[in-house]
């Protein structure tokens, strides 16, 4: 059995829990015997914080978790400058020159005067990790999960072709951009968008979907995060939201029952709003998954619980 996709790209508006979902997805993919790589690209130490392990430095790929299912998750924090030095080494055999370049500030210079270069270098490193071979295994990693830039920038970030449009017309970087784009457009790559059921994140999700369509990169699942599920029906919620329903919990005083009712009115109103946003997302005609809000905060146990919910709702395995 192999995973259906070998590259999962996870994006979402700031504050939607994108890094947590990326970490949980890596755990969900790490079934028995599998090796999964979880990468981040903006150096925020999100992965090391989430898994409570020391920060990553340079190009190290270190194990961050052994899942209960018997797989392992490795972590990597991709840095554009390290990636450029690695790139120079691979294509020009210039590792020493690369280091000297770095000392003179040339790496910063190159990635600054050609902002697209930075994105190509970052996605290029992901490409390398996805395709890497090692002894006795077809691939070094069974799948790679990328904690990608937020939804506002995702289409731009992944559109490496456009990024290199102003760069050298020939040579390795152009060829590499073509290879990266082929991988991103292949059936084994998928982008997931994490959202809350609030107006702004839903709007950004809709915009990201529209911006990704022309890139021909597949959109996988829209993940509704921190949702409060309810067993109540729509009319019950509506009645509760008006605050006009008297609650009668035996053992509570009249005042306490009233306080409970007005608190519940707000909660019910919020759930109704969430349902409206869910309906909005349904019109995107994309698979949806929902992750229940964990009121106890996020720790390793919570990440594994989210992983289980993802496994149940996303088709992660090859048919």
């Amino acid at each position: 059995m192999s995973p259906r996709h070998t590259l999962h790209i996870v994006s979402g508006k700031g504050g939607t829990g994108k890094t947590t979902i990326a970490g949980a997805l890596a755990c969900a993919l790490a079934t028995s015997g599998r090796r999964i790589l979880l990468c981040e690209v903006e150096g925020r130490n999100g992965i090391s914080e989430l898994f409570d392990v020391p920060q990553f430095s340079g190009t190290e790929e270190r194990r961050i978790s052994r899942t209960p299912a018997g797989g392992v998750v490795h972590g990597l924090s991709i840095d554009a400058e390290d990636a450029l030095i690695e790139y120079l080494d691979t294509f020009y055999h210039l590792s020493i020159a690369g280091k000297a370049l770095d000392r003179f500030g040339a790496v910063d210079f190159a990635t600054s005067i050609a902002p697209g270069l930075r994105d190509v270098l970052l996605t290029g490193k992901v490409y390398e990790a996805v395709r890497r071979k090692i002894k006795n295994r077809p691939n070094a990693y069974d799948a790679v999960v990328l904690d990608a830039p937020p939804t506002g920038r995702i289409a731009h970030f992944l559109n490496v072709h456009a990024a290199v449009a102003g760069l050298a017309k020939v040579g390795p970087i152009r060829n590499q951009a073509d290879s990266i784009m082929r991988m991103l457009r292949s059936a084994t790559t998928v982008v997931h968008l994490v959202t809350l059921l609030e107006d702004m994140p839903v709007t950004e999700t809709e915009e990201a979907v529209a911006a990704l369509r022309p890139t021909q990169i597949r959109i996988g699942t829209v993940i509704e995060n921190m949702v409060s599920p309810t067993p109540l029906k729509h009319d019950q919620l509506q009645a509760a939201a008006t605050g006009s329903i008297a609650l009668k919990v035996p053992g509570l005083t009249i005042k306490q029952n009233q306080a409970l009712a007005s608190e519940f009115a707000i909660e019910a109103g919020r759930t109704l709003q969430e349902q409206q946003r869910h309906d909005r997302l349904r019109t995107l005609k994309l698979p949806l998954a929902h992750i229940a809000f964990d009121h106890g905060g996020i720790d390793e146990g919570a990440v594994l619980a989210i992983a289980e919910q993802l496994t149940g709702q996303m088709s992660l395995e090859a048919p």
């Binding site: 700031g14 999100g46 210079f109 005067i113 760069l167 050298a168 067993p231 409970l260 919020r270 905060g297």
Partner: protein, 398 residues
């Protein structure tokens, strides 16, 4: 806090009970010497809403305010009357002007701000050459620091305008969502070092004097860089730098002046966060960095804090819910609403506990940082009425 350092753990315990100083928003906006308020924080914590609510409250308290927002949510922008992205401050209608204040709002358009600077500071021919340059086009729309840099530039412009004709006496700035803490403080330096860095100098006319000796190593490197980037872009950069050189000194000077303005007693920073681990961790970076740079911090605004008026523990609520569910199985009573209400209350109380713990940890690790909490609202903030309510919550001592 999670690093297992015993000394730190002990500190956390001893400080947990200490009172956190209160951030008095009304005192800040009431102080006529406060001329600039900068709201910073990570993405998704409600910076724009906080800036807008603060600006509205200050205006209705009699200040003449302009709020500079960066990429606000469309509906919030509409509520402020800045639906269009035209880089010009517009009066916000329907506010209460009884106290003699006013409120203007604008949305930053970084490309236009950059273009305006170029046009204002060079001859028409030179400006034309710069605006057409491919490298300039990329720099002004894509360079990762441009938005931050232009926010600083715009702030400088608004401040000079305010000083010159008294249109405003308070500028509220909503900073761009930073990729890393305080990009907007670093951006001017980053752009400066890029544009007058020695690497760029070497791409320009051949170096003379002692520099020439160094350039053997460089020429190999610039050959590599040229191979990667292509000759076209290098030529664009060269043309751009030649045209931009005269202008550039001015850029750097203004950035330095704005930086000084931000460190003066007329400015103050508010760090915005939500009571979650990630957001508070980012907030800690902001607080530390601002402290290092000797920037004036007033304190922290913690948005979307949950609370309950019903003092019933989650355990008790769940056991009451369980009793009701059992009773429902026996008799055919219809109490689903009660059960659900109790479950939701239990969840809310657990969330309150988690948030309180996170905030206590933050307060014990950064003692002395004043805080104000803004309770989570039942709906999105999209109109002046709700914005005013956020202002009240900001100013209230809980």
């Amino acid at each position: 806090m999670t690093d297992g350092n015993p000394a730190k753990a002990f500190q956390a315990q001893t400080h947990a009970g200490l009172a956190v100083p209160f951030l008095d928003i009304d005192k800040i906006i009431g102080d006529r010497e406060t001329k600039i308020i900068i709201c910073c924080g990570s993405g998704g914590v409600g910076k724009t809403t906080t800036s807008a609510a603060l600006a509205l409250r200050a205006a209705e308290a009699g200040r003449k305010v302009v709020v500079l927002t960066i990429d606000p949510a469309r509906r919030l922008a509409q509520s402020l009357g800045v639906g269009e992205l035209d880089n010009t401050p517009r009066p916000v209608p329907m506010i209460d002007t009884a106290a003699g204040g006013s409120l203007d709002a604008m949305m930053l358009d970084m490309k236009n701000t950059f273009d305006d600077v170029v046009i204002a500071h060079s001859t028409p021919e030179k400006a034309e050459a710069i605006l057409q340059n491919q490298f300039y086009v990329a720099l002004s729309s894509e360079f990762s620091g441009t938005q931050e840099y232009m926010a600083m530039e715009k702030l400088g412009q608004l401040h000079s305008e305010a000083e010159a004709n008294g249109t405003w006496d308070l500028i509220v700035v909503d900073t761009p969502p930073a990729r890393s803490a305080l990009d907007f403080l670093d951006a001017p330096e980053h752009l400066s070092s890029l544009l007058d860095g020695r690497f760029l100098r070497l791409l320009l006319p051949p170096a003379r004097g002692p520099l020439r000796l160094m350039s053997a190593g460089f020429s190999m490197m610039s050959a590599v860089i040229t191979r990667i980037l292509g000759t076209q872009i290098i030529n664009d950069v060269k043309t751009f730098v030649r045209a931009f050189e005269a202008l550039f000194g001015g850029f750097r000077q203004r950035a330095t002046a704005t930086f000084q303005l931000l460190s003066s007693r007329h400015s103050t920073f508010l760090v915005v966060a939500t009571p979650q681990h990630d957001a508070l961790r980012e907030a800690a970076y902001f607080v530390d960095r601002l402290t290092e740079e000797d920037m004036p911090i007033s304190g922290m605004v913690i948005n979307r804090v949950h609370a309950s008026a019903l003092a019933i523990s989650p355990e008790r609520a769940l056991s009451l819910a369980e009793d009701l569910s059992l009773a429902e199985d026996l008799a055919d009573a219809s109490t689903p609403l009660e059960v659900e209400a109790l479950r939701r209350h239990a969840n809310l109380m657990r969330l309150v506990e988690t948030e309180t713990r996170q905030m206590e940890r933050f307060a014990s690790a950064r003692p002395g940082i004043a805080q104000t909490q803004v309770q989570s609202l039942p709906s999105d903030v999209t109109d002046l009425v709700t914005l005013r309510r956020v202002g009240v919550l900001l100013a209230d001592k809980d």
